[in-house]
Amino acid sequence: MKKQKLVLVGNGMAGVRTLEELLKLAPDLYDITVFGAEPYGNYNRILLSPVLAGEIALSEIILNDRDWYEKHGITLHTGKTVTQIDRANRRVVADDGTGADYDYLLLATGSTPFILPIPGSHLPGILGYRDIADTQAMLAAAQQYQHAVVIGGGLLGLEAANGLKLRGMDVTVVHLGPWLLERQLDAAAGQMLQTSLESKGLKFLLQTQTEALIAGKSGRVAAVQLQGGLQIPAELVVMATGIRPETTLAQAAGLHCQRGVVVNDAMQTDDPHIYAVGECVNHRGIAYGLVAPLFEQAKVAANHLAGQRTSSYTGSVTSTKLKVTGIDLFSAGQFMGGEGTEEIVLNDPHGGRYKKLVLQEGRLVGSVLYGDVGDGPWYFQLLKEERNIQELRDRLIWGPSSGAQAQQPGQNSAATLADSAEVCGCNGVCKGTIVQAIQEQGLASLDEVKKHTKAASSCGSCSGLVEQILAATLGDNYTPTAQRHKPLCACTEHSHQSVRQAILAHHLTRKEAVFDALSWKTPNGCDKCRPAINYYLLSSFPHEAQDDPQSRFINERAHANIQKDGTYSVVPRMWGGLTNPAELRAIADAAEKYRVPTVKVTGGQRIDLLGIRKEDLPAIWADLNAAGMVSGHAYGKSIRTVKTCVGAEHCRFGTQLAMDMGIQLEKMLFDMYAPHKVKLAVSGCPRNCAEAGIKDVGVIGVDSGYELYIGGNGGIKTEVAQFLCKVRSDQEVMEYSGAFLQLYREEGWYLERTCHYLERVGMPYIQNKIVQDPEGRRAYYARLRDALKNAQDPWESSRAPRPIQQFIPIQLQA
């Protein structure tokens, strides 16, 4: 049978969710074609704010990549705006002439930001806040300009303001309303929010109208003129004054529109072959802007498109869970109260907590929570069930766990939540579903719960509650996500991850720029953060960032290892553990000349000269350099050694030339700086005399090639290296090991060894990047080679006149 044709116009969250629901119900019913005006796959628009704030990367918000469309046989046209619907011939045409016939058409054209019709509103530098392009324009402006004005103190406006502030801009929010978020919060909670945001450096002008936008010399906006004539500087203006359903296309096609495309309870327009979902829709007089109702609509539309025609959409009761700049807010129902209602209020402005419950005729009809929103789902459940709460009334404000006994430590609202209570409002997931998924599918992390249940995968505001449910269900087997995001040190709230992301996102190349961009609490950091930042700068921009010696531990400044008495140890490099009589003679000469008290063979197959005075270091390096030797980096967060066995060169069991392979690897990695020290070993056969099983990268020769192992560690807690893959040639050993080490250099946190990095991201993640993706692997390898192309012997370069000063004491004459 010939398949019917379904065309989706609008590649956003509502439209694509409808396709997902439809594919579940009827995977083979349609040939599907999707048109999207933006040049991307479907992404999570709600998470643009964390991208702006630098909390997550753009790549993390993609919901369906191109592979997903391909896998389901969907034809995807991106960057094409549909401009015409020919209803008579059932065909749509895009701006570039691309056409598609349909049996059914699904409109999900979303909404557009409302731009105030005031003088100057079309100047360059004025943006709405809707899509990836807007976000990128804001990021670009934040790098170049200082002053931003956000018009509108609603959710989107506050998120934009917060993001721009974190990106280093001076931000003022101009808001017409009497308090912030007046559609979601009452005056008291709005005031608490404002006070909290002001303490973070944001400025507010409330009950203030914008009159005009003034151009500067370049033609770009330069100032915002307010009612009364006051002008404030602004090289970036973000208009967040509301959205309008995008109905241009529907109207042109003659569909019934009235502040949205009008649909019935089947999400069908007045043309039975055309359905519509999402923010472009007017259902029973309401155009929804929150994601939860859109997903409910998607379910209904899918049900009808699948031919089942059993469900209907009757509108949504919405609650708002908001996360504005890390402050938790919740509101639902008639939270403003009104005639015939009573209020129970708990108000603790100093402690940052506010709770208001609105009652009518013995039932809960509205609620606002500020600060602690853990009880939000419980109140929302009471509200939706319209339950009589008279007998709960005296305990109601204290939440569901009140009448119970004193709480056990660690016990929380998640434990007392009913299985039927909704946890994720966006995706309509209740507690029971999450608990069941955790138990039956062995889920252990927030990310896994997101993947399997979709809970917390849209706006993310219920992430905390989902974590509580995980903790309550798993008990001791649970590690909170927060531990993975702890601040780098006492100088900042930012984690290693977010510092590195900020460096990449803003192209920061100096530590001072990092301190500024992330509002460091100390003038120049401390002994914990400075070395980490120096590493992130150098590894992110190897040829641009300048090394800062004063941000390195003394060993890396002196290219030697400080000992307990303040003397140093010197270890010349012996490639692959090999040396020769001339080198040995030079080492012996140096040991005598500088009266080295201790000469020791190290665990890394080389010779350590211990007890050298700092002022003698440049001279002993010069002597060793003259004999052709270079620094062994026995002191650095860097490549240390490549240990080898004698291999097939001499050994009767050897299958591969281990010494030669080791030397090649060590030469490739020379002077490689890393999050922590890096040690390799190459054994010529599985007897593994080089102990490759406890190295960051272990290479074991077998008859047909090499086995590669990663993440081994012989330190405090011995970790056995894990098998990565098998390769055939020397060249592949170089490419795979190099690519893995580059991945570690780019993603490992400072002072995180490969075994801890491996534990954090998991072996499948690394195999995906290094083994299964040849192109990606070659790119990592190429970046490593590029970073090391100017590798220098630090002994030789440190002997130049200027850096040598640190080695010479000043003599105080008698």
């Binding site: 120049n524 401390c526 002994d527 004063q550 000063q805 640190q806 000043i810």
Partner: protein
């Protein structure tokens, strides 16, 4: 009374760095320069296990000993909590780019 002795130029000490001053009588002095071009002088011996403070990382008005990470206030020579101890300090000043140490 202090006898001010010229030691070196301010620019001879790297910002957020240090130099060692050796006295004929023994007992090295570590002189530090911070990001604000303030200078400080401390006995170059950590109160913990005699580590050379001159080799530590300088931040704000503090230095971290390279051996076991004790922190010292450069102005007072006092160890920062939770550690307890102190190092001798010396009067030091900068005049016209010249660093002067009181001996």
């Amino acid at each position: 009374m202090h006898h001010w002795k010229p030691i070196c130029l301010l620019e001879d000490i790297p910002p957020l760095g240090s130099r060692i001053v050796q006295r004929p009588s023994g007992g090295d002095i570590a002189i530090f320069r911070n990001a604000e071009d303030e200078v400080f002088a401390l006995h170059d011996q950590c109160a913990h296990k005699n580590g050379p403070l001159s080799q530590g990382i300088v931040h704000g008005r503090k230095v971290t000993c390279p051996l076991h990470g004790w922190h010292f206030n450069l102005e007072t020579g006092q160890a920062l909590a939770p550690d307890v101890g102190s190092c001798a300090t010396f009067a030091i000043k900068v005049e016209h780019g010249q660093v002067l140490l009181a001996v």
